[in-house]
């Protein structure tokens, strides 16, 4: 668990008044279980995410964090329980799945940009083919989004020509071009060199200020403290503890949480 721990002081502070949380439900997971073969990865997960929430999920390696958020856009299929996203229940109905996927953006640890397409094409692909946006309009949206993540000048380059931090910001822009209602991040900074982590986290903070509903698997506790409104700790496929960041870090309840925090914060 040798994650780079950023001092929260270094990060851009989000404007607290911008961080509103409504009581509309974005995601509702009830009694969800998942197995890989015989292995019970996720056990009785109950989780409700309200619009505008910023949730950080942490926990030891192999605890099922990735699997949990991948169930939300059905990159993994759950076996029992229900998952509703924006009111639509995830079943094997392909129409529903594609609809939900177009509303939920995802950012991966290894960026997963399409290497054979330029940055601009990466960003316009889904709007053109899934949303049926006219090409011209899609390109305008893409350029605006690239400006937001501060790399418009790279639009005509290929992903292989960019640094890791730039690639991850493109990946965020690519997801944002679909105008998603929810963003999922799976360890977006853990494949990056320390000096690039900040640029990606700053982009994410900016997103939080705009009221995006976010679920973020990360070990950047500085980010969790300053941006999250709720921190979830997972271990062995279960949600062990969840709380607002202040009490979560200052006054953890479960022993496993305490152990995890002491390891990750290096006390």
């Amino acid at each position: 668990m040798a994650e780079a721990i950023l001092d929260p002081g270094e990060l851009k502070r989000p404007n607290p008044s911008a961080l509103r949380v409504s009581d509309e439900r974005a995601i509702e997971i009830v009694g969800m279980n998942k197995w890989f073969g015989q292995f019970h990865v996720l056990r009785d997960i109950d989780l409700t995410v309200y619009k505008g929430e910023r949730i950080v999920v942490c926990g030891p390696s192999g605890s099922g964090k990735s699997t949990l958020i991948r169930c939300i856009n059905r990159l993994e299929e759950h076996q029992t329980g229900t998952i509703r996203v924006e009111g639509v229940e995830l079943t094997s109905d392909l129409k529903n799945i594609d609809r939900i996927r177009s509303e939920v953006g995802m950012v991966f640890q290894h960026f997963n940009l399409f290497p054979h397409l330029t940055i601009l094409e990466n960003c316009t692909l889904a709007p053109i083919w899934v949303r049926k946006t006219p090409k011209k309009e899609a390109e305008e949206i893409a350029m605006q989004t690239l400006e937001k993540v501060r790399i418009p000048e790279q639009a005509q380059k290929y992903p292989g020509q960019l640094s890791g931090g730039q690639q991850q910001r493109v990946a965020i822009a690519r997801a944002l071009c679909m105008r998603p209602k929810i963003m999922l991040f799976d360890e977006p900074t853990s494949a990056l060199d320390p000096e690039m982590i900040k640029e990606v986290l700053d982009t994410m903070i900016q997103l939080a200020e705009e009221g995006m509903t976010m679920i973020c698997v990360t070990h950047e506790m500085g980010f969790a403290r300053s941006v999250a409104n709720r921190v979830i700790f997972m271990d062995q496929g279960q949600i062990v503890e969840q709380n607002a960041p202040e009490p979560f870090f200052n006054n953890p309840q479960s022993d496993r949480t305490k152990l995890f925090l002491s390891q990750i914060l290096g006390h």
Partner: protein
């Protein structure tokens, strides 16, 4: 301590200016040094190889330089000198290009070949204007008509049917969804071809005959036959191979089993066997009374054969893609076919280019196997030519000529594939 710090601490106050890199050590002498004579062993090898090459050229040159171009038979050639008897090429080149195609109709394969060159240009080079794709789309229909002859009207009817089917699809797509619309388009096409096209074509032929002399398949030969089989095989086996590769990856049991079974069966059987099946067996298997052109049967067999190999090559390309590419495509809400078309196949095919071109070159050369089932491709023809009294005994000249033409086209394919790989290279690592 303080002293050491004083001596080693260093701050640069002015940035160093940029300088030109040293001029490359260039020149012919340097190149020779670096590439041919960089050690005594390499120098020895170089000299030895130069000696062998010079000897080879000196050996062949007189034969080539003393060639006889004008002669009526091998006998006559021999009397005029000891060089190559290229008179056989001079006299028989038309036969090698066109087989027993009627002499007055030789312009038809020639025009078809020219059209082929125009048709593949926009496929191969993005700099060629996109409008030329019309020539590509129309090529198969008119090539069929030009080569085999007959009335143009059935061909035009087929084109019209495709146009109508597409129109029906477009009309229905807005209202009924893609799947239903595709079915509707197909229905229109089938009804048109089954009910309307036949009588209409007959009627129109009577009023305005647009006929070419019909040429039976057994008269098509030489490089015309090579190209008919090679080009059809290449252009049909790639899409079929892609579908087989995707089918093999499918999660649907029957599709997967079918594709795996097909691929393994075809790969396990020699092409010759398939060609014999085409020439002999299919006549028994098909319902009696169906006449099914032999060249067409051969094209089908060659296509199936190559597609199995292409499927395996592409499977390698698909397997080489990181799973993240599939996941990113899925996470954006792309459908399966969109993801394949836009993300997965462009990358997988790019990786597979050398293997695919390998199969294509193999296919092109394997067309010579049809000589065994009695078709007169260049090799079959050369046997026929050597069986005549005039040219009995000519070997090097004939096979050299055939080899040269095959080499030119295969080398072209190989060069193009290297060019394509360079053009598609976007990762800079």
């Amino acid at each position: 301590m303080a002293d050491v710090a004083h001596q080693t601490a260093f701050v640069r106050h002015a940035a160093l200016p940029e300088r030109e890199p040293p001029t490359a050590q260039a020149g012919a002498v340097h190149w020779l040094r670096a590439n041919l004579f960089n050690s005594w062993f390499n120098a020895l090898l170089t000299l030895l190889l130069v000696y062998i090459i010079v000897q080879a050229v000196l050996g062949v040159w007189p034969w080539f330089a003393g060639a006889t171009w004008e002669a009526g038979s091998l006998q006559e050639c021999r009397e005029r000198g000891g060089g190559a008897c290229l008179a056989v090429i001079n006299e028989r080149w038309r036969q090698f290009l066109f087989g027993f195609y009627p002499r007055t109709e030789h312009w038809r394969p020639a025009v078809t070949f020219l059209w082929l060159c125009i048709a593949i240009a926009p496929v191969l080079f993005p700099a060629v204007p996109r409008r030329l794709f019309w020539a590509t789309a129309l090529f198969p229909f008119f090539a069929y008509w030009l080569i085999w002859g007959g009335s143009l009207w059935p061909v035009l009817m087929t084109l019209g049917g495709l146009g109508l089917g597409y129109a029906a699809y477009r009309f229905a797509a807005g209202r009924l969804g893609a799947m239903t619309a595709a079915l509707a388009g197909l229905l229109v096409l089938v009804v048109w071809l089954q009910v309307v096209a036949g009588p209409l074509a007959r009627e129109l032929s009577r009023m305005i005959p647009l006929d070419l002399v019909t040429v039976p398949s057994r008269n098509i030969g030489g490089f015309t036959l090579t190209f008919v089989i090679g080009v059809s095989g290449i252009s049909l086996s790639l899409p079929l191979g892609i579908l087989l590769a995707l089918g093999r990856q499918s999660k649907m049991f029957f599709i997967k089993t079918l594709c795996v079974g097909f691929i393994e069966f075809i790969r396990g059987v020699p092409l010759i066997t398939l060609l014999f099946v085409a020439s002999v067996m299919l006549a028994y298997l098909l319902p009696p009374g169906t006449t099914f052109d032999l060249v067409l049967r051969v094209i089908i067999m060659v296509t199936l054969f190559a597609s199995a190999y292409i499927a395996e090559v592409i499977r390698g390309g698909l397997a080489a893609l990181p799973r993240g590419q599939y996941e990113a495509a899925d996470a954006m809400g792309l459908t399966y076919w969109q993801a394949m078309q836009l993300i997965i196949l462009p990358q997988a095919l790019k990786i597979s280019i050398p293997g695919i071109v390998n199969v294509f070159i193999g296919l092109f050369k394997d067309t010579t196997l049809v000589a065994i089932i009695g078709l007169l491709d260049p090799l079959g023809l050369s046997t026929a030519v050597r069986a005549t009294t005039e040219w009995n005994g000519v070997i090097w000249e004939l096979y050299g000529f055939i080899a040269l033409i095959f080499f030119a086209f295969c080398y072209g394919m190989s060069k193009y594939s290297q060019h394509l790989e360079r053009r598609l290279r976007t990762e800079h690592r």
